[in-house]
Amino acid sequence: MIDSVRAVETPEGVLLELRLAGVIVRALAWGIDMAIRFAVYLMAGMVLPFLGAAGIGIWLILMFLVEWFYPVLFEVLAKGQTIGKMALGIRVLCDDGTPVGWYPATVRNFLRFADFLPVLYGVGLLSMLMQRDFKRLGDLAAGTIVVYAERRVLRSTRTEGPKEEDTEAVPLPPVALTLEEQQALVAFSARTRELTTERAEELADLLEPLTGDRGHGAVSHIRRLASVYAGER
């Protein structure tokens, strides 16, 4: 119920993991889009009246187009992201994990009107809180979900390998570690670059009974163990 990871099975028979975006991020993204829309209305409203009454007519057409088609166009053409969604790193996908086309994008954005009732997305909020995929009514009817966009940063997944000169034999722990324990050590070793030194040492200190060391020594001891379990030596 609390876990916001949703697995989607592809025709290749593999499970892809999607991380669902919750109420707050989506509300913030909507707020940004709202601000952009108002800025467009305001700017057009300052320029167009110089064309006289015809200008106001054009302004009304512009307002109509932006209000109803801004999210549809962006979600179809910009990989499921309006500007607000880009800013917060979320995107709209179909239930099966494929990008949204014209039909789903139109359905979910035209039905926004029903979600907005009675005030400020009351119905939509209720609907999002009542099920595990955080869908508002428009999402239900269109078969879409809003997920966090995958990160484009590719970092090496290698565990922090031993240095060339680091030939010191690794004293294996006094007890045989289970598979899960070994994996925990390998995962920790892979993550040490993302952690601050202090946090890494703090975590490594928990394993003092295993390493017989504290601080930097404990971290490098665990790394050496991990490199053994990961098959580096």
Partner: protein
């Protein structure tokens, strides 16, 4: 196989795949990548590696990287679906009238909800003029009389100085929006669509009846007849699409409620695209043609009647033959 060995064996392949995905992201056409390289089979291998990495419990960083690669490959491979945009011409030539005929029950109900008050009220008001004041307040009725007074240069405008282009913009902003709202509010078990159809029918009927009684009937009906062929029809069709959403929720039949709603929304949104386009066309007529007091009303009745026949014939006969 240990993780490090697994990574060593496949690293080159993964890097190549990621390079492709990067190219796709930078404007290179997917087709080119697909033609020059065997993208699908490469993608399937990545999926295979992801499954292996999960099964063998490799580090979460590796699993995450493979997951992201598979996800992006999945989007590239399955993303290019054709939708409405390729077939819009065929949609208006045959798909749209067929869709309307397929949903004839909902359409007939919507027609009744809108046109019974709209056409019935004028007769009722001729018997009992007070009825108009039950529905409209006196000020707005007085304003209406002003708008359709003989001697106006333009009918149907609060300020005669409003230009045609301004009114064109206003009709699009107001009427097409109403069309979309009539549809969307159908999600509330159909009640919203029914409400909007009835209310619009009642308002129109009250104004029409009142003006006819005041002897302004010729001005009013000649104004209305042309664009209403497209405008009221469009709103009625949007109402039908909205009520279908409600019916799908209330009586899903053999489908699950969710599946039934999805199906209704899919055909509903196609109906609403058609209906919205009709109301959009109506705005042209309403702004540039209907309002002119220079065109004699007999010409307007002729053109308007012709347009009505055309619309009815379109929905009855278009797209019956397989092309």
């Amino acid at each position: 196989m240990k993780q490090q060995a697994f990574e060593r064996v496949h690293e080159a392949e993964w890097a190549a795949f990621e390079a492709y995905l990067g190219q796709l992201g930078h404007g290179h056409r997917f087709k080119d990548a697909l033609n020059t390289e065997d993208f699908p089979s490469r993608y399937r291998r990545i999926c295979h590696h992801l499954a292996l990495a999960r099964e063998r419990r490799y580090t979460s960083a590796l699993v995450r990287r493979l997951n992201e690669m598979s996800l992006r490959g999945h989007h590239a491979l399955y993303g290019a679906r054709t939708g409405l945009q390729r077939h819009w011409l065929r949609f208006f030539l045959s798909g749209f009238p067929r869709l309307v005929r397929t949903n004839w029950r909902a359409v007939l109900l919507a027609v009744a909800l809108f046109y019974v008050p709209f056409c019935g009220l004028p007769f009722a008001i001729r018997q009992n003029p007070e009825l108009a004041y039950l529905i409209e307040d006196p000020q707005s009725l007085a304003r209406m009389e002003e708008m359709y007074r003989s001697g106006n240069d333009k009918f149907g405008r609060q300020n005669e100085s409003d230009t045609d282009v301004f009114m064109f913009g206003f009709y699009i902003w107001n009427n097409v929006r109403i069309t979309f709202q009539v549809f969307a509010s159908g999600l509330l078990f159909g009640l919203g669509s029914i409400f909007f159809l009835l209310v619009n029918g009642l308002h129109g009927g009250a104004v029409a009846g009142h003006l006819t009684r005041m002897g302004l009937g010729e001005n009013f009906w000649s104004f209305v007849i042309t664009h209403s062929a497209l405008e009221t029809t469009g709103i009625v069709l949007a109402g039908a699409a909205g009520m279908k959403l409600g019916v799908a929720l209330l009586s899903p039949g053999r489908k699950t409620r969710l599946q039934s709603l999805k199906d209704a929304a899919r055909s509903g949104v196609a109906l609403v695209y058609g209906a919205g386009f009709m109301v959009f066309l109506a705005a042209f007529f309403e702004a540039f043609w209907s309002s002119s007091a220079l065109v004699p009303s007999s010409v307007k009745f002729g053109v308007g009647g012709g347009l009505w026949l055309l619309v009815v014939a379109y929905f009855l006969f278009a797209g019956r033959r397989h092309v």
